[in-house]
């Protein structure tokens, strides 16, 4: 009997110890590369310093939705906070995979007292989604490949006579189809309307067919700067922050073409049943306050999602480069920008992705 007691005692102590240790740890899933680094510097390090909570980084955001689905289905959720695109967050929310978040209770108000729900850029907060940044996907090119000046418009990208060489595109239908339609002469504000019809979809794919032989595909955000640097591609679609970091940190001769950039938000969701809610809540309150969001912009050129953060955006860490002109939200860069339609892709994503994959492999 005594032995049994000792044994149970030990097991209980171990279990308790385990539980306590887990409270001191958060697993945060993100995109890796320069982007994860900006989060580590702006959020994770100061938070660990303040509270002692250890933060583990996993670079799995490219498969975030599939990952959360699998974890929730298996009843073994190991991710605490997941960095996710808004369209995916909407799906995860509809499917009950992530927590609904009472914004004003979970998030810090602005310094002047404005509640969070009114301080975030309009339309970016979702019922389950806390945006951090606005980022752009746009074309960039290696200036060495075009001594007489590079492409300036989407039509130029399609013009392989005038601008010969390989294009590196992201291997997803999102944004490629929109740009194809614009290159085909569709008005930017009609793009999604056209793309919702079968005829419009055929038109977009036909336009992509024109450059298919000149295309290689990328799937990770770190690839396009690499492909441009290797001259494996001369024009590439990319996330603006990755190109900016390659320009500044590696001195690459890259140029961003802001014409018809597509911007969208990226941010956090919290999977259900993490058993870690209090720590997560505390972390989010810390990480989404005005100053922290502005701090992230010191490390990567993505616009903060809070209005009160924008004036606080300063210079690139360790340099004299003013970050404001490099933000996708800078008015100069925003002239022909297209807002990415989250709802459209939540509805049509399945079918178009399937068709796109068939088209790529065919």
């Amino acid at each position: 009997m005594k032995r049994v007691l000792i044994l149970t005692g030990t097991v209980a102590a171990l279990a308790l110890g385990g539980a306590v240790a887990q409270d001191k740890q958060l697993t945060i899933v993100s995109w890796g590369g320069a982007y994860s680094k900006s989060q580590i510097e702006a959020y994770h390090k100061p938070y660990t310093e303040k509270t002692g909570v250890e933060i583990l980084n996993e670079d799995k955001s490219a498969n975030a939705l599939a990952g959360i689905r699998a974890q929730v289905e298996a009843g073994n959720v190991t991710w605490d906070v997941v960095d996710m695109l808004q369209a995916d967050a909407q799906r995860a929310c509809d499917e009950g995979l992530v927590l609904e978040i009472p914004h004003d209770e979970w998030l810090a108000p602005a310094p002047d007292g404005t509640p969070a729900s009114q301080d975030f850029i309009e339309g970016t907060l979702g019922p389950c989604f806390i945006p951090q940044i606005l980022y752009a996907t746009m074309f960039a090119y290696n200036t060495e490949a075009f001594p007489d000046g590079g492409p300036q418009t989407i039509e130029d990208v399609w013009d392989v006579e005038k601008f010969p060489g390989t294009r590196a595109l992201q291997q997803i239908p999102q944004k490629n189809l929109e740009w194809a339609l614009i290159a085909d002469g569709v008005e930017p504000d009609k793009v999604y309307e056209v793309l919702a019809t079968e005829e419009g979809q055929n038109r977009a794919f036909a336009k992509l067919d024109e450059i298919k032989d000149n295309v290689i595909w990328w799937s990770e955000g770190a690839q396009p700067p690499q492909m441009l640097a290797d001259k494996e591609a001369v024009i590439a679609t990319a996330y603006n922050g990755r190109i900016f970091n390659a320009q500044v940190n590696e001195d690459q001769p890259f140029e961003i073409m802001w014409d018809h950039q597509m911007f969208e938000t990226d941010g956090w969701v919290v999977p259900v049943d993490t058993g870690n809610e209090e720590t997560i809540k505390d972390y989010l309150k810390f990480a989404t306050d005005t100053q922290r969001l502005a701090d992230q912009a010191k490390y990567i050129s993505y616009g903060p999602a809070r209005q009160s953060s924008a004036p606080k955006v300063g210079k690139f860490e360790g340099t004299d480069i003013d970050m404001k002109p490099h933000m996708p939200t800078n008015p100069e860069n925003l002239k022909t920008a297209i807002p990415f339609d989250v709802q459209f892709w939540a509805d049509y994503g399945d079918a178009l992705e399937e068709r796109f994959n068939a088209w790529v492999a065919g």
Partner: protein
């Protein structure tokens, strides 16, 4: 037998019949042998059989509609499909939606329907968000809220997919689907990809196997006929790449073959091609074939070599001394003796090739990828279709088993020599 029964039974030392004693001791042996393999058996069951069975199960299991819209699924069984469903169906739908919104499971049902009808997700979600403010009769309100609710196809699909087991994913995996009338029909051409990819995977695997035979046969012959010192050195040259990591070898091919790579630079430097006309040897079919042939070559060399080593050179000399032409001697005497090694090499390389993933993913571009790459694609991304991936993987598994079975009929596993 009759005479045997007459002879007195042989007894063991303790008086039991010898037969029983033998059986008992054999049974003991067998139990001991079984205990020895038991850990492996348990291991295989846990990490091999169970996951494969659950994968096959997943590829036909279809619980979403039945699970998340149970009342609607039941109510639809009475519906013939000729006209917009009657009030009870809408009432059931409203009840399911209220529960679904509360448990936040309605999105899972909506996601399942959206797979069949793009755009249906927003219809379902939009209606679900307002349905708790309505009261009976529901039919009018649904039809008013969204004209999609009058779409017969929507209801037919809902009825069809409310069954618990579905062949839908297998149909998709061979480029077929249910059409609006509920008949099985080929998918629109723009979605057709899997059948073509199965064929491509098969013929490229056959081609790679063939290339391996052509390259490995002379190498193995040389290995087998050289003096031991030379042969061992050559063997190390074969084994060294075999021991090198797959990723390293694949990346080495990228360095060699890419447009700014070693070979292109050499060709440009020597003036064979100009800077604009650089060859595209990678991120396409060529890249996959070159890299995979290299990577799989040792799997052909080793069995061939081990078989050739056992063939005495005197056989060939004897054939020639009896007047055979050297080719005839080789063809009639030597070659048949190498068939077990050749067969082992072929089945090994072919089965490895057909399921290959990492090399085609890295160097295959879009024209050089295999079916396994599409299986992986279906397991990732935001619209991951695990069930379609499971169906594709099951088909691939069955194909491999079939190849193995045919091979066994033709050559026989007992003739295999793996070195």
């Amino acid at each position: 037998m009759a005479s045997a029964s007459k002879t007195p039974e042989l007894l063991a030392a303790d008086g039991t019949p010898l037969k029983h004693a033998l059986r008992r001791s054999q049974a003991q042996e067998r139990r001991r042998a079984f205990l020895l393999v038991a850990p492996l058996l348990v291991f295989l069951l846990i990490v091999f059989a169970v996951p494969i069975l659950s994968m096959i199960w997943r590829s036909v299991y279809n619980p979403e509609i039945r699970g998340y819209l149970p009342q609607t699924a039941a109510a639809l069984q009475q519906w013939e499909g000729a006209d917009v469903p009657p009030e009870p169906v809408f009432q059931a739908m409203a009840a399911d939606m209220i529960v679904g919104v509360e448990n936040r499971t309605i999105g899972r049902a909506a996601a399942r329907i959206n797979r069949e009808i793009p755009g249906a997700r927003s219809t379902v979600m939009r209606t679900a968000r307002q349905v708790d403010e309505w009261s009976a009769p529901y039919r009018e309100k649904f039809l008013e809220a969204d004209e999609d609710w009058a779409n017969l196809e929507f209801w037919r699909i809902l009825k069809r997919e409310s069954r618990l087991l579905t062949p839908t994913y297998y149909l998709l995996a061979i480029d077929y689907e249910y059409n609006a009338q509920g008949e099985i029909a080929p998918r629109p051409e723009v979605y057709q990809v899997y059948k073509g990819l199965f064929f491509r995977t098969a013929w490229m695997s056959i081609l790679i196997t063939g290339l391996c035979v052509v390259l490995a046969y002379p190498i193995s012959y040389m290995l087998a006929t050289q003096p031991a010192r030379v042969a061992n050195l050559l063997l190390i040259l074969v084994l060294l790449p075999f021991w090198t990591s797959l990723l390293v070898r694949t990346s080495a091919w990228i360095v060699l073959l890419q447009q700014q790579g070693v070979i292109n630079e050499l060709l440009v430097a020597t003036g064979i091609i100009d800077g604009q006309g650089r060859l595209r040897m990678i991120y396409n079919r060529t890249g996959t074939i070159v890299a995979m042939t290299h990577i799989l070559l040792p799997f052909m060399v080793l069995p061939l070599y081990s078989v050739m080593k056992t063939i005495p050179p005197s056989y060939l000399r004897a054939a020639k001394s009896l007047g055979a032409h050297p080719f005839r001697a080789w063809w009639r005497v030597y070659f048949p003796l190498t068939i077990p090694g050749l067969a082992a090499g072929c089945i090994l390389v072919f089965i490895l090739a057909i399921g290959y993933y990492i090399t085609p993913a890295l160097v295959g571009g879009d024209s050089g990828i295999f079916i396994s790459n599409l299986i992986a694609q279906n397991m990732q991304g935001s619209s991951a279709q695990l069930k379609l991936a499971a169906a594709l993987a099951t088909i691939l598994l069955v194909a491999v088993l079939l190849v193995y079975w045919v091979f066994n009929k033709l050559v026989g596993v007992d003739r295999l020599k793996f070195g």
